[in-house]
């Protein structure tokens, strides 16, 4: 068949398909896709294959290819039900994924906790060590924050609502940024994640050890116990996500390294979603609960313990039933 005949015979069909695509590509589209969309798309693919095989002109082949590309993007797009997916992820998907990746979680938790415990113990035993890790100005500002006599967290000052807002913003920004870096560091064969895990563990441990040693432990521990459940867990999980990514590069198994990393990224990004949620909760608790100074410290410890138990129970137990939670 000559090209002109082919074109004149099918031109109307291509134009109709093009206008269906225009309609589907509208961002605020209400109409459902026509029921014969896939049949029309397959016909177009057929025409494209014919046109290419018969050596029709570039303009015709390119036009058909452009239409086929748009049809392909509509037919194979990944459409999710956002709310249902989110709920399913929180109730089951995330804890399942954490359990499935337990070796990485265990390594990340081990590195983080060892760094934390070691530096806390050493700084507590040898107080001057803190100046090797943290600059004197920072030590002074941390001390003034947790000084029981004149702290802005202490009983003397009642914090304003505005300040809670400010601190919420700051915690979100700071902690999620750190978590993202921990995850991304995994691409450097996991070394970046290990470094950030160790670094953050050592820093937090050093500050904790130092404040306890100078006698500000009461304010410090009652302040951090509430949100630490979410914050430290989230940091460990972010590190685990990074390690998963790095391990795919080190030991890709039967896959090529590129494919292994792509697969690992799909898994570990789920951990990152969960980490973001946990850190948002942590920032909320930190800004609106931990900083409340008119609540007795004993209450804070009780609530803190409950939160720790809750997060561990959630990660260990949630989503064990085989029924889809929806």
């Amino acid at each position: 068949m000559k090209q002109s005949l082919f074109e004149s015979r099918h031109q109307a069909e291509w134009q109709a398909f093009g206008s269906v695509l225009d309609d589907l590509e509208q961002p605020s589209r209400k109409s459902a896709s026509p029921s014969d969309f896939s049949a029309r798309y397959r016909r177009l693919c057929n025409h494209l294959a014919l046109a290419a095989d018969r050596g029709y002109s570039s303009h015709l082949v390119d036009t058909l290819q452009h239409l086929a590309m748009r049809g392909h993007q509509q037919l194979y797009r990944h459409r999710g039900r956002f709310l249902a997916d989110l709920l399913g992820f929180i109730l089951a998907g995330f804890p399942r994924q954490v359990r499935a990746q337990w070796p990485f979680v265990a390594v990340a938790a081990g590195v983080f906790c060892i760094g934390l415990a070691l530096s806390a113990a050493l700084v507590y035993r040898y107080p001057n060590l803190i100046y090797a890790l943290v600059s004197p100005e920072q030590v002074a500002s941390t001390e003034s924050m947790y000084n029981p006599d004149h702290s802005r967290l202490g009983p003397a000052v009642v914090r304003l609502a505005g300040e809670d807002w400010m601190m919420f913003g700051y915690y979100v920004m700071n902690n999620i940024g750190i978590a993202f870096q921990m995850f991304a560091g995994g691409l450097l064969l996991g070394v970046g994640s290990l470094f950030y895990l160790l670094f953050n563990g050592v820093m937090i441990g050093a500050v904790a050890g130092h404040l306890t040693e100078v006698g500000y432990g009461g304010t410090f521990w009652s302040f951090v116990v509430g949100h630490s459940a979410f914050e430290l867990t989230a940091l460990v999980l972010a590190g685990a996500a990074g390690l998963r990514l790095g391990w795919a590069l080190i030991a890709p198994g039967q896959l090529t390294r590129g494919k292994a990393v792509r697969d690992a990224a799909k898994i570990s990004i789920q951990l990152v979603y969960g980490v973001v949620l946990l850190l948002l909760i942590a920032a909320f608790i930190e800004a609106y609960w931990s900083s409340k100074s008119d609540i007795a410290a004993s209450w804070k410890y009780v609530i803190g313990a409950i939160l720790w138990l809750a997060i561990i129970a959630y990660l260990v137990l949630a989503g064990r039933s085989t029924h889809a939670p929806d």
Binding site: C45, G55, M166, R262, A265
Partner: protein, 241 residues
């Protein structure tokens, strides 16, 4: 016109010399994408950087007057703009941040489907690694050595930055009397002749004649008549309108 063997007239076209990225779909057709190179992507990123800077400047000025609530809001905004700007635009605006939109680029999955939340988040979080050790060195190196110009974030997320194809308007073919050749043309020759006819409007007349002389030299047409001859062949291939 040369014939290597009798049965190569319907041989598939040779792989293109350019950076085109072909993708076979389940329907058995080849879609071709044109991946965008380093320079145009740097320009798009630069535009996005300027827009983000301006956005932050305006917002910080506005929120500066609100005291501590404003300070909290502005740190939240700083976070949103620095980590989520690209993700939000890519997912909600068909893979195009404003910079990419201006440069005619688009981010898609490796299978040419529109980018989703996961892939966009992966490629933009891993930007941190592409930034290392300074000024996108790793990203640029990865981009330059990869056949589809992927940076590390693209490799892990399975995404591709491509040019957005725009449909071209119907070219007018030069007038000529149709000629039917007494022998079969190969697919490549047929496409070349039709391509020359379609692109003549955009070529200078000297260049068109030069190309026609090269294309027609095996068929023993005098160089000065080659163009007219090939236009006639193209008309003959297209058939009566």
């Amino acid at each position: 016109m040369p014939h290597d063997s009798a049965n190569d007239w319907n041989a598939a076209l040779p792989p293109p010399l350019d950076t085109r990225y072909t993708l076979e779909t389940p329907e058995g057709i080849d879609l071709s994408l044109r991946p965008a190179g380093l320079v145009v992507r740097v320009l798009a990123f630069g535009i996005d950087l300027l827009i983000r800077g301006a956005l932050l400047g305006v917002l910080l000025l506005l929120l500066g007057g609100l005291g501590q609530v404003g300070a909290g809001l502005s740190t939240l905004l700083l976070f949103l703009v620095s980590w989520c700007y690209m993700v939000l635009f890519e997912v909600l605006n068909q893979g195009r941040s404003p910079g990419k939109l201006l440069m005619g680029l688009q981010v898609v999955h490796d299978d040419a489907t529109p980018i989703g939340w996961s892939a966009s988040l992966i490629r933009n979080l891993l930007r941190v690694v592409d930034l290392l050790p300074f000024g996108y060195c790793l990203g640029a190196l990865s981009c330059l050595q990869h056949p589809a110009f992927k940076r590390l974030g693209d490799l892990a997320a399975g995404t591709l930055v491509t040019y957005r194809e725009r449909p071209s308007s119907q070219p007018a073919l030069p007038a000529a009397d149709p000629i039917i050749l007494p022998f079969a043309l190969t697919l490549a020759e047929q496409r070349a002749i039709l391509g020359l006819a379609e692109r003549q409007g955009r070529l200078s007349s000297y260049r068109a004649r030069e190309l026609a002389a090269m294309l027609a030299s095996p068929s023993q047409v005098a160089p000065e008549h080659a163009l007219q001859h090939l236009n006639g062949v193209a008309r003959g291939l297209l058939g009566p309108t």
